[in-house]
Every structure is written in C-alpha cells, then in structure tokens.
Amino acid sequence: MVEIVAEGRSLVKKYGDKTVVDGIHFQIKRGECFGFLGPNGAGKTSTMKMMYCLSPVTSGELFVLNLDVNTRGREIKSRIGVVPQEDGLDTDFTVLENLTIYASYHNLLADVAEKRARELLRFMRIDEKSTSPVDQLSGGMKRRLAIARGMINNPEMLFLDEPTTGLDPQARLLIWDNLRALKKEGMSMALTTHYMEEAEQICDRLVIMDHGRFLCEGKPSDLITEHIGREVVEFSCEDKDINYFVERVKNKYDYQVIRNRFHLFIKANQDGKQAVASISSSDVTVRKATLEDVFLKVAGHDLRDE
C-alpha cells in the first residue's frame, strides 16, 4: 500500500471574508514530488503555510505525516523541512552559522549540527562560502542555503515555496539538480511554482489551481496528453482574419486564440504537418505540447496584477 505523507480534505482558508483556498482535496504519496501550480494569488502559498503549520486551517481537515496540523504542529515541524518563499536567512551570521543556529532550534547537539551542516553545504555546493556573511551570497546561493537549512533536521518531507523564483537560468538548473538528487534519495516533496518547465522537470504529480480551487490534477505527461495532445501548431494572423481561421479549424482541431495568435492542439491520432500545410500563414510553427499549454488552457490567459 502507498503511504500518504500529506492529505487535505475539503480544506478551506479564509482571511476575513476573502476565501483563498476553497475546499481542496489532495493526497501526497511518500517519495513523490507534488506540485502546486497556479498564477499569483491562486492559493498555493496559503496551502503550503497551512501544511507547515504557520497558518491555521479555517475549515476542513489537513494531515501531515498522519498528524493533524491543528493539534500536532510542533511534532510535524520537527519532522519536516521548510523552504519559504522569502529565504528568511539570518543576515547577522555567516553561512555555516545560519545552519548551526537553525539546528539549535531543532534541538540538535552542537557537534552533530556542525557535521550535518558541512555535509549539506557540500551537497548544495556552497561549502566554499561557509564563512561568508549571507548578504554576500548571490540569489541562487541564498536559495541553496535556504534549502540546506530546510534539511538540517533530516526531514521526512520537504516543503518548497517557489524554490527558483527570480533566479537566473544557471542557478535554476543547479537547484533542479539538487532537487532531483533529493528525490532519488526518496525525499517526499511539496512545491509551488509558476514555472511550468520546473513542474515538468521535477514533479511526479501536480495540480493547477486558481482562485483557491484545483482546475486539473495528474502526472505532467498525462495532463498534456489529455488537455492538449501531442503537438501544438502556432501561427499569428491579423485581427480581421481571426474569424476566417476559426471557421477553417474549428471542426478539425481543439484550439485557443491568445490575442491574435492561434494555438491548434494536435492529438496523438492527428498530423501536425498536415495542419501546417493547411494554414496559409508565413510564421506557422509546430512544436511539442508542453505543460504551459495546459496551464494557459485551464487557467486562462488574463494578466494578473496581484
């Protein structure tokens, strides 16, 4: 039987009158990486904060490691690791001290803490910076230090809130390497992100959420096949021609028009090249379907200001 490390049932979070998590259900299995995707304000961080017991549950049930978050917060916190959206590093201290002091909050003995801290710094590839003050680190290094800090107590499960937001591509790749290595070791993970590529790379299963609800749920590849298909044919047209193209494609393909750009979704049993040939447009391209297409299809493509 698969062991469940986190489970929410009819989970609701309200701030005053505002509902940010609206009755969601989920189960996270041991050893898997479960992603919460969604635009800003979708309720991802609120869901995470309830799981790591920093924000009380408004209604519904939430269990982490089979413990009720309402009553067993301290025990849960001692067995999980948290990497919050803002690193929250202690700028009064060096890289190594950040880890050893955090270890003391977990009641680790000083010598055990230092040994573990040095291992983690090596694992996250920031060991050469161990005596630097944290404000001298680059954004990517700070993030890796925050991940190392989240692992200091040998957690059974790791919560990562937007682990690579604001980082450059190189820094992001390094963090993905680290997270994949952790997954290989069997670490259970819950992460939020709004980078679809990140979710495709790392998550075993994910949900796309908006306005506090799940829009779809599943393995990244299944979601792509189910909602989009195999390939996407893209082309642009003038505003006045939109209706003309709609008439031409609507009976043959699923499609989405984002401003004046057409996206035709090519199913497994259809041929992308044939679609390309039938479109009289100079910039028509065909490419693999991605999670981004799923996201834009289910969450819509309005701009979010929040």
Binding site: L54, S78, D90, H106, N107
Partner: protein, 261 residues
C-alpha cells in the same frame, strides 16, 4: 482573560534557543557591545554627579552623586532594554523575518517573544553590571543591601524590555519608535524620581508617576543602594513585577496575532 494576562509566561527549551541566538551574536561583537554600554552612564555621572552635583550639594542628607548613582543603574537598564527590544527586535520581526523562520521549527511564537524579551533584559543587565563595577571601583557601594540591587535591576530590565516589545509588536515602521521614545521613555527617565526626589512634585504628578515602572525600580534600587530598605517597598516590588508579567503577555499575544493568521 485577565487571569491569562497575569500568569507567568511559560518558558521552554525554545525560549532558551532564541535567547542563545542573540547571545551568540552579542559574543561575536563583544567589545563593541561593551564599549557602547558604558559611554552613556559614565557621561551622566560626570555631568550630573560631579558637575551639577557640586551646586546641588546633598538631597535629604545624601550627597547628590550617591542619590544619582542608583538612578543611573536603573536608566542604564531601561535604555539598554528598550533599544534592544525596539530597533533590533523590529528588524528581526519585520525586515529579516527572523521570527517567521524560527517558527518553522518546533520553537513556538511564545518561545520567540519570551526569548527576545529575556535577551533584551539580559543585554541591558550586562550593561548594568558594568556600571555597577565602575561604582564599586569608585568606592560607592557599601554593605550587603547594596548588592541586592542586582536582582531588582534585572526585573527592571525585564519590565522595560517587555514594554518595548509591546510597542514593537504594534509598530508599523521604525518611525513608530520615535513617538515611543519622545512620549514615553524620555519623560519617564526624567519624571520617575531619577534626578530629583518626587516629594517636590505636585500631588497629582506624584500619583501619575506611580504608573511608570521606572518609578518603582528607582525607589527600590535607591533604598537598597543606600541600605535603607523598608517593608513598604514590597508594594513597589509587587507592582514592578506585575507590570513585567502584564507587558510580557501583552507582547506575546500581539506578536502571535501579527505572525499567525
């Protein structure tokens, strides 16, 4: 509700961890920390004790410098505690998000606030110890009672630290502390019977001074310092202690409201 407010805050291992984080930082910059703790009180002794004291002579038969010395101990404690638990704590609460980070571990918000209050009190108390050492060197400390000022001064530091933490838990930005210092701390340091005896104040002002925790601190510390303890001081002691507990609980409750929502 009121019963919770006057219950002594629960201290756990987490309280000590938070205290120890701050102590670790203090040790890193020990010399700087110590230097700044001494400058102010020594200036006051020089300016008021020797300078002004020359013209004042004696108050109620006590040489002015001996009248002033216990008050300097109290204001040293007050200043140290209040600075630590406003500016430093606010930085950790709002700017660095240190408290939220700590709360991702088994350390609770109650531990965090209690640990911070105790640290503010401890740091101020270290400064008080330094000033006391100077007074000993100046041969101003005589008798057993004079040494009992130390535990009382720790409670003064605690009370002030807790009061400052209440302000921090409500503060929106650093400017909020300007009001606190000019409307509460400066008047209190002048009107709590520190530089002159309260007896010469109008009756209403004397009554008003009883609301100020520093008043009770000064009267107890001065009596002990001059070996003039009397039993009515227990009332001052009880009030000071009660205020320390009230402020501590208030700070804990308000910070919890601010961090857990």
């Amino acid at each position: 509700m009121w019963k919770d407010m006057i219950t002594f805050p629960r201290l756990g291992i987490g309280t000590y961890r938070v205290w120890n984080r701050d102590f670790f930082y203090y040790k890193k910059y020990l010399m700087v920390s110590i230097f700044w703790s001494f400058t102010d009180p020594l200036l006051y002794i020089l300016a008021f004790g020797y300078g002004l004291g020359f013209f004042v002579g004696a108050i109620n038969g006590i040489p002015y410098i001996l009248f002033l010395a216990p008050a300097i101990l109290c204001t040293t404690g007050m200043q140290g505690a209040v600075f630590e638990s406003t500016y430093s704590s606010f930085t950790k609460l709002r700017v660095q998000k240190t408290y939220e980070t700590i709360m991702m571990t088994p350390v609770t918000v109650e531990d965090v606030v209690a640990g911070e209050i105790l640290w503010g009190a401890s740091k101020a108390f270290f400064a008080v110890l330094g000033v006391m050492a100077v007074f000993v060197a100046m041969r101003m400390v005589h008798g057993f009672q004079a040494w009992l000022v130390l535990p009382v001064l720790f409670i003064v530091c605690w009370c002030m630290s807790a009061m400052a933490m209440v302000v921090t838990s409500f503060a929106k930005d650093y400017d909020s502390f300007t009001y606190f210092f000019s409307l509460i701390i400066t008047p209190m340091s002048l009107l709590a019977g520190t530089y002159f005896p309260l007896e010469h104040f109008p009756k209403w002002a004397q009554t008003a001074a009883w609301v100020l925790p520093l008043t009770h601190g000064v009267v107890i510390v001065r009596s002990l310092f001059l070996s003039r303890w009397h039993s009515s001081l227990w009332i001052n002691f009880a009030l000071l202690f009660l205020m320390a507990i009230l402020f501590s609980n208030w700070a804990i409750n308000q910070t919890r409201r601010r961090l857990i929502y």
